[in-house]
C-alpha cells in the first residue's frame, strides 16, 4: 500500500478516536446516572452538587416518601378507573359520576399537600443555597398554575 494511503488511514483512525474520546468523556457523568440504583437521585446529587451527607439525608427522605406516594398513586388510579367505567356505562351526567368526580379531587389535594411537605423537607435537607434552588426548580415543575399544559 502506498505510504500516503497508510498515513491517511492512520489519520482517519485517530480522528475517529478523537471523536469517540471526547464523546465518551462528555457523556461520562450522564451515563453514570443510568448505572446507579436510583438514577433520578444520582442525577439530583449531581445537579444540586450535594455532598455525601446531604445526599444521604435526601435519599432517606425520598425513600420514606415513596410508600406514601405509592399509596396516593394507587388511589388516584383506582378513582380514575372507576370514573372511566361510570362514564363508559352512562349516556349522560349522573349523580354517581358527579360524586365520583368529587372523589377524584380529594387525592389530588392530599397529593399536593404531601408533595409540598416533602419538597420543603428535601430542600431543608440540602445546603441553604442548593435547597433554595431545588425548591424553585421543583415548584416550577410540579406546582405550575397551568398544571404543565402548554401555553395557547
Amino acid at each position: 500500500m502506498r505510504k500516503s494511503y497508510q498515513i491517511l488511514l492512520l489519520g482517519l483512525a485517530l480522528t475517529a478516536a478523537v471523536f469517540c474520546g471526547t464523546y465518551l468523556a462528555g457523556t461520562r457523568e450522564a451515563r453514570q446516572f443510568s448505572r446507579a440504583t436510583t438514577p433520578e437521585l444520582a442525577w439530583l446529587k449531581s445537579e444540586f452538587q450535594l455532598d455525601d451527607e446531604a445526599f444521604a439525608r435526601v435519599s432517606q427522605l425520598h425513600e420514606a416518601y415513596q410508600s406514601h406516594c405509592e399509596e396516593i398513586c394507587a388511589r388516584v388510579r383506582a378513582t380514575r378507573s372507576e370514573l372511566e367505567i361510570l362514564m363508559q356505562n352512562s349516556k349522560g351526567m349522573t349523580e354517581e359520576i358527579e360524586r365520583k368526580l368529587e372523589e377524584t379531587t380529594a387525592p389530588r389535594l392530599e397529593c399536593q399537600k404531601m408533595m409540598l411537605r416533602h419538597c420543603y423537607e428535601t430542600s431543608q435537607a440540602m445546603p441553604p443555597e442548593q435547597g433554595k434552588r431545588y425548591f424553585e426548580w421543583i415548584k416550577a415543575r410540579t406546582f405550575q398554575e397551568d398544571f404543565g399544559m402548554p401555553a395557547r
Binding site: 494511503y5 474520546g21 464523546y23 462528555g26 457523556t27 446516572f33 443510568s34 442525577w43 398513586c73
Partner: protein, 121 residues
C-alpha cells in the same frame, strides 16, 4: 522476452542480418515531422481536455496532502479539531437529553399524580 532475444534464436538469425543490412534511400514526405508533432499535440490536448475521474482526483489529493509530513500534520490537526468539536457537541446534546429524562424521572417519582398517569397499569 525482448525483441533482441527473439532475434537471437537460430531461425531468426537470417532476419536479423537482413534488418542490419537494410537501408532505404526513400525520404519521408516534407510534412511527416509536422504531422507527427501535430498528432502528439492533439493527443496532449485530448488528455488535458479529459476530466479526471473521481478516484484520480482522490489519488492526486491523497498524494499531495499525505505524501509529505507537513501538509499531513496540518490536515490531521484540523481534522482532530473538527472531530473534537463534533464529539463535544454530540456529547452535550446527549447529556442534555439524559439530564432532562432524569429530571423528569425525579419529578414523576415525587408527584403521585404524574406517577399514576406515567405508569398506567
Amino acid at each position: 522476452m525482448s525483441m533482441n532475444d527473439k532475434l537471437d534464436r537460430p531461425e531468426d538469425a537470417r532476419l536479423k542480418q537482413l534488418l542490419q543490412e537494410w537501408k532505404t534511400d526513400a525520404e519521408p514526405p516534407a510534412s511527416f515531422k509536422r504531422g507527427v508533432w501535430r498528432k502528439i499535440a492533439e493527443a496532449d490536448e485530448a488528455e488535458r481536455a479529459r476530466l479526471p475521474s473521481f478516484w484520480e482526483v482522490m489519488r492526486l489529493l491523497c498524494d499531495r496532502l499525505f505524501g509529505r509530513l507537513a501538509p499531513a500534520l496540518a490536515c490531521f490537526g484540523l481534522l482532530f479539531l473538527v472531530a473534537g468539536w463534533l464529539g463535544v457537541q454530540t456529547a452535550s446534546g446527549k447529556s442534555s437529553k439524559i439530564n432532562e429524562s432524569m429530571a423528569a424521572g425525579y419529578v414523576v417519582s415525587v408527584d403521585p399524580y404524574l406517577k399514576a398517569f406515567a405508569e398506567k397499569p
